[in-house]
């Protein structure tokens, strides 16, 4: 049944568009308070070193320096299990060793230079496979394999699967270390005033920062307030409390003045998180008719100097969920190396997995003599497949539509030709890839508050950080649709721990479904209260009433009473509260299929992306305009993952070679091809008005689609991304040779 909506599905500008285009928006980096001090962190210049002595005497004597702290001042802070706030063993170049706070940035920088640190330089290891060997330098006492053993997934009988297989394909793949390069760096201002702590932070999760800092400094959460009015990008780097939050707070408590810590760009390349590199071995088996019967995957995830989390587990998720396959075994090793701390980047670890998996499927299709689209259509996980291990179905699944409609819009049949058959030096080729992941699903906590004022206007209070996806607008639309008021009557306050409720981070593409469900339920709660009052006035039952355009009507009637008149009868301001619960024994996934055409110049190695069709099952489009923007932006970042981005480390010194925006290559406006977002609405029964999230899925698909298109153009396979100009030229030479 086609639902009719008043606001949902329209094209609306962001609620805070004016603030953002006028320069009035106050990001954390724009917070300058009277009497504010500047904090600076002394970072390790070595990838691996023991700190023997720290002499702060000269720095302390510098006028304007207000406090200096070293590892001995912070031993009691509770933190990630393997990461001290300040460390006496540096495990990556940029590890936090000491912190200074001074009257201005220059004085703080000067003081950092005056601190004399004596290091014992230790042997280091950068390569995760080397790090697994017994003779490798030990980065943590318990060894370099996190948890001591791999995470293992098993389904069916893998040996039997390979016995049944008529075609078996093995290959290895690698993905690189990438930086989020958020335009606003990590930055916060902490102010300890009157026994209370306020932190303005550029964060995807104010409540995470609140609880992390409260725990570390043993403060009651009631006395810690975290605010993120605006943030300049996150992409997974700013998902929780970090060392710099605790340091700024601690230094403010020590000095009684506001303390600002802002990373410079080089610090942000080294001492923030990144997309951890991976090494893959895949072995897939299929029958001659194309049916997948066995999947074996092994991944080594290079987590850097600290285990923010065991990344290999995140990598393996899409290996088990994109395709229907009765026999599966997957092993994931998460490994320490002397690189910066690995973390989430526009997904936990799915992009690193979808590149090898989708290239592998492309190769397998060719081996079987099948069209890549047909091969996907034969094997993709259906609605009933869901969690194939626990036998829970998906709540909705628009993948088939994504593949079929995407292929049609792209004109796949017409465009696809035999690999390597493109003539001349400018070779054209097409490629595709699909994706399914739990990102976009609902999680807990899911909550929201809605206040209906006496004049009929509405305040939505939500924990979601508006990362740039237009989350505030999404919440306004959801509340307006549910309450039956114009969308302009709704004002949204977001991401302030003092006045909003926890909806989890703006991470995992979760806010539309998680924050949105909380807001929808809160609006429904407020509506219930309003209709109860109106029913008394109209001498009817609440369920026989509806609100349309701020007028309460008996259902079907054309005369009603204005909402403001009903509100006059309310004993107090109407406050609605909503708490969403994640459905049991069901799996919520988002789905996508991308189709891309490239042109490879075999004389220069340049790859030009000509056009991309990005089909996404989003459940329901809440705001078409920002939805398209997110799909396009995610896909363009994903192109950078496939072709350009790689943070490089020198094997001899262990030091980063390109910690800046010039040498670390990003997509520019000139690299952008024609992109056609194709919206598939599967109307998820658990999403607000059927919606699911879309923040991360667009990122995972372009890289393998591009790799497959480059193969289609040139006839050469590339098993590592980014597929750089050099890799292309070398690959072509090898083919000729």
């Amino acid at each position: 049944m086609e639902q009719k909506f008043n606001v949902v599905g329209k094209r609306l500008p962001k609620v805070d568009a004016w603030e953002r285009v006028s320069g009035k928006a106050r990001y954390a980096s724009d917070v300058y308070l009277p009497g504010m001090l500047y904090g600076k962190i002394l970072r390790s210049p070595y990838p691996h070193a023991r700190i023997i002595n720290i002499d702060i005497s000269k720095a302390k004597a510098l006028p304007g320096v207000k406090a200096i702290i070293t590892p001995k001042d912070t031993p009691t802070f509770r933190w990630h299990k393997d990461m001290p706030i300040l460390t006496d063993v540096a495990r990556f170049q940029g590890d936090d060793i000491a912190a200074v706070v001074a009257v201005d940035e220059e004085r703080a920088a000067e003081a950092i230079e005056l601190i004399k640190v004596e290091y014992e330089v230790l042997p280091f290891v950068l390569d995760p496979e080397e790090a697994m060997k017994p003779e490798a330098p030990k980065i943590h006492p318990e060894g370099n394999i996190i948890g001591g053993k791999p995470q293992v997934l098993k389904r069916g009988d893998i040996e039997k699967g390979f016995q049944e297989a008529e075609v078996i394909l093995e290959n290895t793949y690698r993905t690189s270390l990438l930086q989020h390069v958020t335009s606003e760096p990590r930055v916060c201002v902490a102010y300890w005033e009157g026994g209370r702590l306020t932190i303005w932070d550029s964060t995807q999760y104010t409540f995470g920062v609140q609880s992390g800092v409260a725990k570390a400094l043993k403060l009651p959460m009631s006395k810690v307030r975290v605010i993120c009015e605006f943030m300049g990008g996150g992409f997974g780097d700013k998902t929780t409390s970090e060392r710099y939050n605790v340091l700024a707070a601690f230094l403010s408590m020590k000095t009684g003045r506001p303390v600002r810590i802002e990373f410079d760009r080089a610090e942000n390349f080294l001492a923030a998180h990144h997309r951890y590199p991976t090494v893959w071995y895949l072995k897939y088996g299929a029958k001659k008719d194309g049916t997948l019967v066995a999947i074996y995957a092994k991944v080594i995830a290079d987590m850097g100097g600290y285990a923010h989390f065991a990344g290999a587990g995140g990598n393996l998720e899409t290996i088990k969920s994109v395709y229907r396959c009765p026999n599966l075994m997957a092993e994931g090793f998460s490994v320490y190396t002397n690189k910066p701390e690995g973390g989430f980047m526009r997904c936990v670890g799915h992009p690193q997995a979808q590149y090898p998996q989708e290239v592998h499927m492309d190769m397998l299709a060719e081996r079987l003599g099948m069209d890549p689209v047909e091969f996907r259509l034969k094997n993709f996980a259906r609605l009933e497949d869901g969690d194939q291990d626990r036998k829970f179905p998906f709540t909705s699944n628009g993948l088939e539509d994504c593949i079929k409609r995407g292929a049609e819009l792209f004109r796949w049949q017409e465009k696809w030709r035999r690999p390597g058959s493109s003539p001349g030096p400018l070779k054209r080729g097409v490629g595709m890839a699909i994706h399914a992941c739990r990102h976009g699903a609902m999680t807990e906590p899911s909550s929201g508050m809605v206040r209906v004022n006496a004049d009929g206007t509405v305040n939505v209070l939500t924990g979601t950080s508006d990362i740039g996806g237009g989350q505030k607008r999404t919440m306004a639309i959801i509340a307006a649709e549910e309450l039956g008021v114009p969308v302009d009557a709704v004002y949204v306050t977001a991401a302030d721990t003092e006045v909003t409720t926890d909806t989890g981070g703006t991470t995992g593409s979760r806010q539309t479904m998680t924050g949105g469900t909380g807001v929808r339920l809160a609006a429904a709660d407020a509506k219930r209260q309003i209709l109860k009052i109106a029913a008394q006035e109209l001498k009817t039952e609440p369920d026989k009433l509806e609100i349309k355009n701020s007028i309460v009507y008996p259902i079907g009637a054309d005369k009603g009473i204005p909402l403001v008149d009903v509100l006059k009868k309310a004993p107090a301001t109407i406050v609605g509260r909503g708490i969403g619960r994640v459905p049991k024994n069901k799996v919520i996934h988002s789905f996508a299929a991308h189709f891309v055409e490239v042109e490879v110049d075999v004389t220069t190695g340049q790859v030009r992306i000509l056009r991309l069709v990005a089909a996404h099952d989003v459940g329901r489009a809440i705001n078409l305009q920002s939805l398209e923007n997110q799909i396009e932006g995610g896909a363009i970042q994903g192109m950078g993952f496939g072709l350009l981005e790689e943070q490089l480390f020198d094997g001899k010194t262990g030091l980063c070679l390109n910690p800046n925006v010039l040498d670390y290559k990003l997509m520019t406006i000139k690299d952008v091809p024609e992109i056609k977002p194709l919206i598939v609405e599967s109307n998820d029964p658990y999403g607000p008005f059927g919606a699911k999230g879309v923040g991360e899925p667009p990122y995972s698909v372009p890289a393998p689609a591009i790799a497959n298109a480059i193969y289609n153009a040139t006839g050469v396979r590339f098993n590592k991304i980014p597929i750089s100009v050099r890799a292309i030229l070398e690959g072509l030479k090898t083919k000729k040779g």
Binding site: A17, R20, S183, R265, P659, I669
Partner: protein, 209 residues
């Protein structure tokens, strides 16, 4: 391994990047005096008696920002970006790369789009500067701002003031650019959210007026 190698010197993390202050330390006073030629006042530092870097001087400058004159004392190595943000409160101009690679700090100086992070404040003495705050007429958006709002020409908005100022510089010269000219004109600005298609759409809407 030799002892010298094994024992780390007092190496600093900062040694691996070029800092402006460090750079100035290296080049000394001479270059600075050249740079400040024409600046009327040179005064020694009085800042809390701190050990200041050799070669650093202070100077009075007059900056005309969005039509208003500001006279202030700046250090000779301070960038126009830092002075706009920290001293004058024009925080609409953003710091992203701080090394002339991303365009987030684009302002218009004497009719030309420049990176405010790559100009010293003393270079802007007696110059007319327009920042994003100088575009709107009170709460009435400038047509470029209106177009970016209507076409969703941004996501997080952090690079947006830079894109808007770069767009102004394009349109001031060429009111009806085509898509290729728009891309060329905005190639010096990075949008990490990659709202590029919607940015192009925003500027095309202006070009077609």
């Amino acid at each position: 391994m030799e002892e010298k190698e094994k024992r780390g010197e007092n190496l600093n993390f900062a040694s691996f990047k070029v800092t402006r202050r460090g750079f100035l330390k290296g080049i000394g006073t001479g270059a600075i005096s050249t740079a400040v030629t024409g600046i009327p006042v040179l005064v020694p530092s009085e800042a809390e008696g701190a050990r200041i870097v050799k070669g650093v001087r202070e100077a009075m400058v007059r900056l005309n920002v969005n039509g208003v004159d500001y006279r202030l004392k700046v250090k000779s190595h301070w960038t126009l970006l830092d002075v706009l943000r920290k001293k004058l409160g024009f925080t609409g101009t953003k710091k992203f790369c701080d090394r002339g690679s991303c365009g987030a700090c684009t302002v218009i100086m004497e009719g030309k789009a420049i990176y405010a992070c790559s100009r010293l404040a003393i270079e802007a003495d007696n110059k007319k500067i327009v920042t994003v705050e100088g575009l709107a007429d009170g709460e009435n958006p400038h047509p470029i701002q209106q177009a970016f709002m209507e076409n969703d020409g941004f996501q997080c908005g952090y690079c947006t003031p830079g894109f808007i100022m770069a767009t102004k510089a394009i349109l001031d010269k060429n009111p009806h650019p085509d898509e290729a000219e728009i891309k060329e004109g905005l190639a010096g600005n990075i949008c990490r959210c990659s709202a590029y298609p919607k940015i192009i759409q925003s500027v095309l809407a202006l070009a077609k007026r």
